[in-house]
C-alpha cells in the first residue's frame, strides 16, 4: 500500500464512480485505523486508570468491604454515616483552616514576588533562581526539613526566637500552630508556581495603558492597584481556584511532618481518607468519602466558573 494510491496526483484520469466510492470507503477505513492507532495506546492507559476505577469507586461507595470477605451492600449507608462522623467533621474543619490560611497567602505572595521580580536589575536571574528552586523539593524532603527547622529544641526557628528574646514555640507539637507551620512550608515550596503565572500575566499587561496612566499623573502605587491589578483579575481567579483545589487535597506534607497530629489537629480530609481506606481497610466508606470530596471540588470549580462568567471575567 502506497500513499499515492490514497492521494491521487493532480491530473490523474478520473476513475469510474463505483471505483471512487470503493476507494473512498477504503480510505476512510484506513484513516480510522491510522487515527486510532496513534491515540489508542495512551487513551487506553489514561481512561483505563480513571474511568474504570472511577466507576468502581462509585459502586464501592454503596458497599461495606474490607477487600477480603464478601462485600455487603449498604445502600446510602456510607453517605449517611459520613454526615454523622465527628472525625470527618474535624478533618473538614482542619482542611478549611488550611485552605483559608494557604490560598490568600499563596496568591498574595505570588503577586508580590512577581512584581518584585518583573524588572531588569542586576542579579535578577539569581533572585529568580533562589525563589523558584524550592519548587523541585519533594514532600518527603520538605517534611524532613520542616521537622528540623521547626524542632522545638534543635530547630533554627526557635533558636532565632531565643536569640532575639521572643518566647519559643511548640510549632508542630502545638495543635494551634502545626497547621501554620505546614502552611509556611507549603508556601515555600509552591511560591514559584503562583509567581511564574503572575510574571507571565504581568508581561501581558499592555504597556501603553500603563504609560497613559503615568502621563495622567498616577504614581506607581496607583498604577499598580488601579491599572495593573484589574488586568490581572482573570489570572487571580484562576490561581485562586487552582490553589483552593490543591489545598483541599493536602496530604503529602501532613504525612511527612505530623501524620495528622498533634491530637488530630492536622488531620485533613485526604489524610482521613487514606487512614480509613488503607489503615482500617474500610474500602466502601473510604470511597464514599472520596466521592464526597470529589463533589466538593466540582462544586467549587463550577461556582467560581459561573461567578466569573457572571461578573464578565473570562477565567478559562
Amino acid at each position: 500500500m502506497t500513499t499515492s494510491a490514497l492521494r491521487p496526483p493532480e491530473g490523474a484520469p478520473p476513475r469510474s464512480s463505483t471505483a471512487r466510492r470503493a476507494s473512498r470507503r477504503h480510505r476512510s477505513w484506513r484513516e480510522a485505523l491510522e487515527g486510532w492507532g496513534f491515540v489508542a495506546p495512551a487513551l487506553v492507559i489514561v481512561l483505563g486508570l480513571t474511568v474504570f476505577p472511577g466507576v468502581w469507586a462509585f459502586l464501592l461507595s454503596f458497599q461495606k468491604w474490607d477487600g477480603f470477605s464478601d462485600p455487603i451492600s449498604v445502600g446510602t449507608g456510607n453517605y449517611r454515616d459520613m454526615i454523622a462522623d465527628p472525625e470527618l467533621q474535624g478533618a473538614v474543619a482542619h482542611t478549611a483552616i488550611y485552605t483559608v490560611l494557604f490560598v490568600p497567602a499563596s496568591v498574595l505572595l505570588g503577586l508580590f514576588l512577581a512584581v518584585a521580580l518583573n524588572r531588569r536589575i542586576r542579579f535578577i536571574g539569581l533572585y529568580r533562581t533562589a525563589i523558584f528552586v524550592p519548587f523541585v523539593a519533594s514532600a518527603a524532603a520538605t517534611g524532613i526539613l520542616t521537622t528540623y527547622l521547626f524542632s522545638p529544641q534543635f530547630g533554627l526557628i526557635n533558636n532565632v526566637l531565643r536569640v532575639v528574646g521572643l518566647p519559643e514555640q511548640g510549632w508542630l507539637e502545638d495543635r494551634h500552630e502545626a497547621m501554620v507551620v505546614i502552611t509556611i512550608m507549603s508556601l515555600w515550596g509552591q511560591a514559584a508556581f503562583t509567581t511564574v503565572i503572575y510574571l507571565a500575566a504581568l508581561q501581558d499587561v499592555p504597556g501603553d495603558v500603563v504609560e497613559a496612566a503615568r502621563i495622567d499623573g498616577a504614581n506607581s502605587w496607583q498604577i499598580f492597584w488601579r491599572v495593573v491589578w484589574p488586568q490581572l483579575a482573570p489570572v487571580t481567579v484562576f490561581v485562586g481556584i487552582y490553589q483552593t483545589l490543591q489545598a483541599i487535597q493536602l496530604f503529602d506534607l501532613v504525612y511527612t511532618t505530623t501524620r495528622g497530629g498533634p491530637l488530630e489537629a492536622t488531620q485533613t480530609i485526604v489524610y482521613y481518607l487514606w487512614k480509613v481506606a488503607f489503615q482500617n481497610l474500610q474500602f466502601g466508606y473510604g470511597s464514599a468519602v472520596a466521592y464526597g470530596l470529589f463533589f466538593v471540588t466540582l462544586l467549587v470549580t463550577i461556582a467560581v466558573a459561573v461567578y466569573s462568567r457572571k461578573s464578565g471575567r473570562e477565567a478559562f
Binding site: 492521494r7 484513516e31 480510522a32 486510532w36 492507532g37 496513534f38 491515540v39 495506546p41 495512551a42 489514561v46 481512561l47 486508570l49 480513571t50 474511568v51 476505577p53 464501592l60 521580580l117 531588569r120 536589575i121 542586576r122 535578577i124 536571574g125 539569581l126 533572585y127 529568580r128 533562581t129 525563589i131 528552586v133 524550592p134 519548587f135 523541585v136 519533594s138 514532600a139 518527603a140 524532603a141 517534611g143 524532613i144 526539613l145 528540623y148 527547622l149 529544641q153 534543635f154 533554627l156 533558636n159 515555600w188 511564574v196 503565572i197 508581561q203 490561581v239 487535597q249 496530604f251 503529602d252 504525612y255 511527612t256 487514606w274 481506606a277 473510604g286 470530596l293 470529589f294 470549580t301
Partner: protein, 302 residues
Amino acid sequence: MSVEAPILPSTPLANAGGVVHPPAPSARARRRKLPFSGWHFLLVPVAFLFLLPFVEMFLTSVEPASEINKFPPAFIPSHFTLDGYQKLFEQSDILHWLLNTAIVSASAIASHLVLCSLAGYGFARLKFPGRSFGFLAILATIMVPTQLLMIPTYIMFARLGLVDHLSAAIVPWLASAFGIFLMRQFFLSLPAELEEAGLIDGCTRLQVFFRIVLPLAKPALATLAIFTLLGSWNDLVWPLIAINNDHAFTLQLGLTNFQGTRRTEWSLLMAGNVIATLPLILFFLAAQKQFVATMTFAGLKG
C-alpha cells in the same frame, strides 16, 4: 556573574502574549546601563529566606552529630564530615531506592514522550470517527482527583499482582491526560504544510511524524519530560499505598519511612535529603527556562 534578565518561556506554547525583547546588548554594556535599584533591599532577604532551608539541609548533612544535638545547637559546623552519608549508606538501602526512583522516572519519561506525543498528534491532525469524543473523555479525566481513584486502583493492582513491585509505581506514569493535552496544543500550533509536503513525497504518516514533526516538537517534549520527571520523582502517596516491600521502595517512600524510625538523627536524614533533592536541583539549574515554561503551561492548562 550572569545577568540574564527575563527567563520567561519563549516556547510557542507559553508565549501567547508575544513578549518581544529587543536584541540583547553585550553583557558588559547591559551591566553598565542597569542602574542600582532599591528592590535589592527587598530581594536579597527574600532570596536568602527561600534558600535557607536548602543551606541548612546541606550544612546539617556534613555537620558532626555532636554539634547538632548540643544545646543550643551550632548551625555552622566547625568542620566538615561525611559521617552522616557513611552511616546512611550503611544503615539504609538509599542507593537502591535511588536506583528504583531513577528507573521509575526514566520509564515514565520515555513512555510519556512516545505515547503522549503520538496521541497528541493523532488528536491534532488525523481525522477519524470518535476523535472529538475521545479527546473530550481525556479532558474530562483531568477533573477527576487522584484520591477518588486510589482505592479501586489499589485493588486492581493487587489482583494483577503488581502491588509491592516497582511496576506498581511505574504503570500510573505511562501516560497522562495532561501530556496528551499539552502535545495536542503544540501540534495544533505547527503549520501543516511541511507534513503535507512529506505525505505527497510518499512518506507514511509514521515517517512524517518521526522525521518531520518530532524534531520540531523539542520545546514541547522538554516541557513534557520535565513535568513527568517532577511528578514521578517526587510522588509519595501512590508508592506509599502500593509498595510495602522495602526492596521496591522509591526514594521518597524510603526516605519518609527512614524518617519515621530515625526521628532525630539529623545528619543521616539530611544526607538522605541531599541525595533525594540534589539531582532535581541540578536539573533545575541546568534547564531553568524549561522548568519555568513547564510551570507556566501547567498553570494555563485550565
